[in-house]
Symmetry: C2
Subunit: 191 residues, 2 copies
């Protein structure tokens, strides 16, 4: 990894850390990019160059991207439902709780996402994107499902995942996400 790339990654991490801290303390809507830039010691323009939009300061997450990639990859072989379950089982539970040192924790980020109406739409959009990916994966899988029903199922599974995460947030991370997903699968498959 280059010195340049390392510096770039460092700046991004620093900016995002400052941003999330401010968002958590004062609320997403009450924090301006100018404030973030000032506190992070960079130009406003630089924030935009790295993250594009204010939303991305919350949403951008390499770990999430990796997890979603994993889900979709598994879905192409074992189907959407089993794919989600397997991918979830492959993640150590403490990672979900955000007790790891990474970037301040997933739990805090999701809590922020849920507490901020301006960000709900973004979350739903991500959900439906995942749903379409799952649908494509399922129709490409050995099941030989037609594109349209595959898409319906993919979106349904993604919606279930979103509800599970939401319920998990309501319990403030106390509940076991894998249990919630299992219950969600039940609700989906019986009836």
């Amino acid at each position: 990894m280059n010195l340049r790339e390392r510096r770039r990654a460092d700046t991004m991490r620093a900016v995002q850390r400052v941003a999330l801290d401010l968002f958590e303390r004062r609320g997403y809507d009450a924090v301006s990019i100018a404030q973030i830039a000032a506190e992070a010691q960079v130009a406003e323009r630089t924030v935009y160059r790295h993250f594009g939009t204010k939303e991305m300061l919350v949403v951008h997450d390499e770990l999430d991207a990796a997890f979603i990639g994993d889900v979709v990859r598994r879905a192409t072989t074992v189907g959407a439902i089993a794919g989600v379950r397997e991918a979830l089982a492959a993640v150590p539970p403490e990672a979900w709780r955000g007790e790891g040192a990474e970037a301040g924790g997933w739990l805090r980020k999701m809590r922020l996402l849920r507490a901020t109406p301006s960000l709900h739409a973004t979350f739903e959009r991500a959900t439906s994107t995942l749903g379409d990916a799952l649908g494509a994966a399922e129709s490409a899988a050995a099941t030989g499902l037609a594109p349209y029903p595959a898409r319906v199922r993919g979106r349904a599974v993604a919606a279930m995942l979103a509800v599970a995460v939401d319920a998990w947030l309501e319990s403030d991370g106390e509940a076991d996400l894998r249990d919630l997903v299992a219950q969600g699968i039940d609700a989906l498959t019986t009836g």
Copy 2:
């Protein structure tokens, strides 16, 4: 109905008509509120007072609101899936095609929604809101379903509806929306 209320409704319809025309011709992102206001012969501030946001100029629709209300009402007695089917059956097919005189047609509006990435998030948000309403309706219904599985099902049904509408748009309104929904229900209930 008052003269005031009538005038208000007239202004809103006129503004929305102008807006949709401009959006269709030049693209949503390329049209500013100022242009809409100028063409509709009102102040920019008035547009915001009536619609709140630019998105609402596309999304706002009394007929849609009535239909969604109908779906949710039926869902509280016969469940989400049957509710959607019944509500859909109660609407004359030509209404979907937008051949009616109302406000320029539903088909055109949905086409615009689909063609504009900036509006996708809004659409998904509306879908998930409907899903939650369906979930609440189902758990309040006689089925006696627990809140969590009810919510999962509600969202799944709403997601299915969104996919059906999307597929219907892909066929440019040629396909029968009721058939697509029926196939979507099949995809949801078998497996």
